[in-house]
Symmetry: C2
Subunit: 471 residues, 2 copies
């Protein structure tokens, strides 16, 4: 059993410790339920999984109702449904905590690279293996288990709201409109979000910065269909070759993104923040161990932690053209597709970067082909207020559950909902997570560290009580 | 009905014209049989089609036997079987013609880009649509129909041999060893090969030059599995990006391949040959119409015909990395794969070019990733003797069937068997074909022009008779 020992003295917050006890006693049942939940292939990006995504939403709504939440609703959207649940606090004038989660998952990717079937959750040692176990069905379920435990002791100490979306992995297209339309329903004092990672299982972590993203699809069109490379090689421009030249043009020999103006608005790191980031237990060795890469890489002049959290970058996320399966074919492909994304930091505007990208690539495209660019997603970076009441409550909860000092990190990934909650609802998020960097979020063999899951349940229980008291 | 009118006067070669008549009368039956043949998905590159490839070999052996060939055998090889058939001439001291063909086909590619199912042959207008209809089940079947017609008039005027392979589309790995092992069985005076294209349906064409090929797979390995581009973007080198930089490095801004030494051994074109190539009815407009490309492209200083037939080039045939399906995923891919090929001209040695390629790329690969190159196929270019008896017999046959002057072209594609027949058996090939450049060999909606197919049957009948007389 993990977590802090339950005090034997009669504490002023007996209900909190009773809830902790309830959560610990019910862990086996929770694990079974989480396996059920992870068994639903709710891949938001895959149109043929639409019903599975809906099924996951229904599963969650059922859980919320069973836990005793009052107003549980599944709102349809243009894509995947939004699950809402609400329960007022037992006393008046209590603050409201909105718990955010997403129940959709990434595509499973190549199934042959999974050791167990991605949607047949399997426990092995301390881990639960399943697509979505870490990102973020496990963390989402931890909030349910925590609220269930709190409610087992009577009405909650805060007004509770849940907003659980099914489109996070596809860029949350319905979230913005939903927030606008249901602003009063969602009104809260803080949003708790467990979709940010942990530095490691033994490092309670609050993420106070998130990178933004600009994701773009570049499709180069050549001949109207694949043509024989013997018959036409030498007279027909190869769209795959044009595409690779376009991508190559986006980075200079110094390793920096060479898109003009890319770094112009990047907020520089202050010396104090650099010193604090240097404290994080992220080493070259740990990054190499987590990824299996032979050697680190990146922008000169910045530490790995800074490059991940506080510097922008560009990635090729996908390439496909011509004979991309098992077999070789001597063709000039009709089209070539790349999916690239830029991770953005505070100061950078995704719309501006996209405009610069189009402007930069245009003159590089020969008239022998046609470039079709497409904006897939854009979201600016965000920095969370570290002095807020909610952040401090979360810090205290983490330190109670882990019995260690909290680490503050800037996350490398983006969580668009954090930006939207702020810009549309004026609502600040507090961010932590239960997934470590070795948990293969988005890759094969995604896994949830079960002892960390247990600590996560307890963290949420602790958070809801002191957060209530501090009003 | 196409082809030359059957002479009404009593010709010295009555048997030839009777054979032509038999072929014309049996065309509907031949079309049905060809549809059967094209319905077998004999994709040599696809391991799960192994039995289909074998089935196509059996189908051919059955046809050869039914036509009255004496020694019909299906030889197993390490990959796909070789079909052999033989029939001595009716008179002694006649020359021997070895008819070459391949019964395997390219993979069908994206099925949604086909207007009819690739292995459900469909006639529409003048065309038969099916994978392999043009490359080269149609041309191969034309030789069967021609020989059947010849044999309907009695013993053949030449010794006939067939060698039909099932591995052409995968680089003919078993052909060389087979030729070595069965050299005396295959001994002949000329090899007739209908796997070269036509300039157009109304252009009887002999291909006297073929480009060679060097096909290579480049695989770049990065992290041991796909990792989250937010969590690791900025510290882990992206193998897809390394791959695109490697490919980009292979061509200079002048459009020429920039691999050092690539052009060193290229035999220059003589003025006389350039003048003759300039006669070919290949225009910028025809190439654009055939491919749907917006504009031509290529090495400066050479005409399109020269660039296709007499100049080497490089093509990206395939790319795949990361999220290559319908959905976007924010990952750094574990690997990135490119399939590239170089079309080579007389003078260039594929082994030397491959060695130069590896030597050139090595220093460009950063230590943050690993490059795994693989030689897929290598074959030098070939020039056929235009003054040979067989070439002149083929010219006469084409001109009789088409009633037009023959065009001599250098083909852009490669036919490794031509090289191997020469180097291993000392056997010269004569090359023509029935597929026009718009027939989508290797692409979707591959098709056979049926009037050209009929002319092809008659060409082979004509070829076998005058070839016999000239000995």
């Amino acid at each position: 059993m993990t977590g802090s020992p339950i005090p034997t003295l009669n504490q002023p917050d007996t209900a909190r410790w009773a809830a902790i006890r309830q959560a610990r006693q019910n862990l086996p049942r929770h694990l079974d339920a989480l396996k059920d939940f992870c068994g639903i292939p709710s891949i938001s990006a895959d149109p043929i999984r639409r019903d599975d995504v809906r099924r996951a939403a229904g599963w969650l709504a059922g859980r919320l109702q069973a836990m005793g939440l009052r107003q549980v609703e599944v709102f349809p959207t243009r894509v995947h449904p939004m699950v809402f649940g609400e329960l007022p606090a037992g006393q008046p004038d209590r603050p409201t905590v909105l718990i955010y989660g997403h129940y959709d998952v990434q595509p499973e990717g190549p199934v042959d690279r999974w050791k167990s079937a991605p949607f047949t959750p399997a426990v092995s040692g301390d881990f639960l293996f399943a697509r979505g176990a870490a990102d973020m069905k496990g963390p989402l379920y931890a909030t349910l288990a925590a609220v269930e435990a709190v409610l087992s002791q009577g009405p909650p100490p805060v007004n509770l709201k849940f907003i659980l979306e099914g489109e996070e992995e596809i860029g949350s297209p319905s979230l913005g409109p939903f927030l606008v339309e249901h602003a009063s329903l969602l009104a809260a004092d803080a949003c708790l979000n467990l979709d940010a990672g942990l530095l490691d299982y033994d490092c309670p972590t609050i993420t106070y910065g998130l990178r933004g993203i600009l994701a773009v699809e570049l499709r180069v069109h050549g001949p109207s269909q694949d043509v024989h490379s013997g018959i036409f090689g030498g007279v027909i421009q190869n769209p795959a070759e044009v595409l690779v030249r376009l991508i190559s043009a986006l980075r200079g020999p110094d390793g920096r993104v060479s898109l003009p103006g890319f770094y112009d608005r990047v907020c520089p790191l202050e010396a104090a923040e650099r010193a604090e980031l240097a404290r994080l237990p992220v080493t070259e060795a740990s990054l190499l161990a987590q990824t299996g890469s032979p050697e680190l890489w990146g922008e000169p002049g910045f530490s790995p932690v800074e490059r991940i959290g506080a510097r922008p970058t560009m990635e090729v996320n996908g390439l496909v053209s011509g004979c991309s399966g098992e077999s070789f074919a001597t063709i000039i492909p009709a089209t070539a597709l790349a999916r690239i994304s830029f991770r953005l930091v505070p100061g950078q505007d995704p719309d501006e970067i996209y405009a610069r990208l189009i402007q930069f690539l245009g003159p590089l495209v020969p008239r022998t082909v046609r470039l079709e660019p497409k904006l897939l997603a854009g979201s600016p970076a965000v920095l969370v207020n570290r002095a807020s009441r909610a952040t401090r409550a979360l810090e205290q909860a983490l330190e109670t559950a882990w019995e260690k000092r909290t680490f503050y990190q800037r996350g490398g990934g983006g969580i668009p909902v954090v930006t939207q909650m702020r810009s549309i609802l004026g609502l600040e998020s507090v961010l932590t997570g239960l997934a470590g960097p070795a948990d293969n979020c988005h890759g094969p063999n995604e896994r949830l560290h079960l002892p960390t899951f247990e600590r996560g349940v307890e963290t949420v229980i602790h958070f809801l009580h002191p957060f209530a008291q501090r009003i």
